[in-house]
Symmetry: C2
Subunit: 135 residues, 2 copies
């Protein structure tokens, strides 16, 4: 597999663990030697393993819906040990946009940062109604 395929596989594993509600599987996908962060709409970004892990556990315990990652796009970052994925998240309700940052540790691509936020039905300057075309 190319690096790009490996990153996409790690990204898919993240959404599969989330959809399964499997906190242990999710945590196994997190980076270990790199700091962790999460950004969700309801509070400023959380940085630090303890808070990040607790945040994901709380989300899973609350019974978040399975989310499907649509049209992921990978950018491999210089240095060869980090990459980011942009995608739309199909939540079954309002779609979201995600940025997921992965790092290569011990030969595995692991999640370092997730930023998820709603795809709002509003139009930015010069953007037109593309937001409505996701579904």
């Amino acid at each position: 597999m190319t690096d790009e395929h490996e990153v996409l596989a790690a990204n898919e594993a993240f959404y599969e663990a989330f959809a399964a509600g499997d906190a242990g599987a999710l945590e196994a996908l997190f980076a270990r030697a790199t700091e962790l962060a999460t950004a969700h709409p309801w509070r400023p970004a959380t940085t630090g393993r303890e808070g990040v892990v607790a945040g994901w556990r709380a989300i899973l315990e609350a019974g978040a819906p399975p989310i499907r990652c649509v049209d992921p796009s990978v950018i491999l970052l210089p240095g060869g040990q980090a990459a980011l994925v942009s995608c739309v998240e199909d939540t079954g309700d309002a779609p979201c946009i995600a940025t997921n940052v992965f790092v290569r540790e011990e030969g595995e691509w692991r999640l370092c940062h997730h930023h998820g936020a709603p795809l709002a039905p509003v139009f930015g300057p010069g953007e037109g109604p593309q937001a409505g075309s996701v579904h």
Copy 2:
């Protein structure tokens, strides 16, 4: 300066160029050898230099307000050539959360990806009313 300070300076330069409405200064801060992306709430992420540059020009031409970056947090990524910044954006109105990914090219930290999204006054599972504490 440490890498962390250099990344913070690049992040600050991004918000200064934006606040000045200076598209040329903004473009000078973008990565050149790495793919670019942007994620804003009103459409799925844009990937590719042409679309990213056009998107930022449209935002500046529409007269976006100056934005101040509050409490930036840096994570240096393995490989030593990429880093991410999480911060709250004080827009003068509703605050936003940003993830900015920088890459080191020719000794300079340059912006590769920006994801900006509203800090919504809603509470995630187990999160409580922290969102209201930003102001």
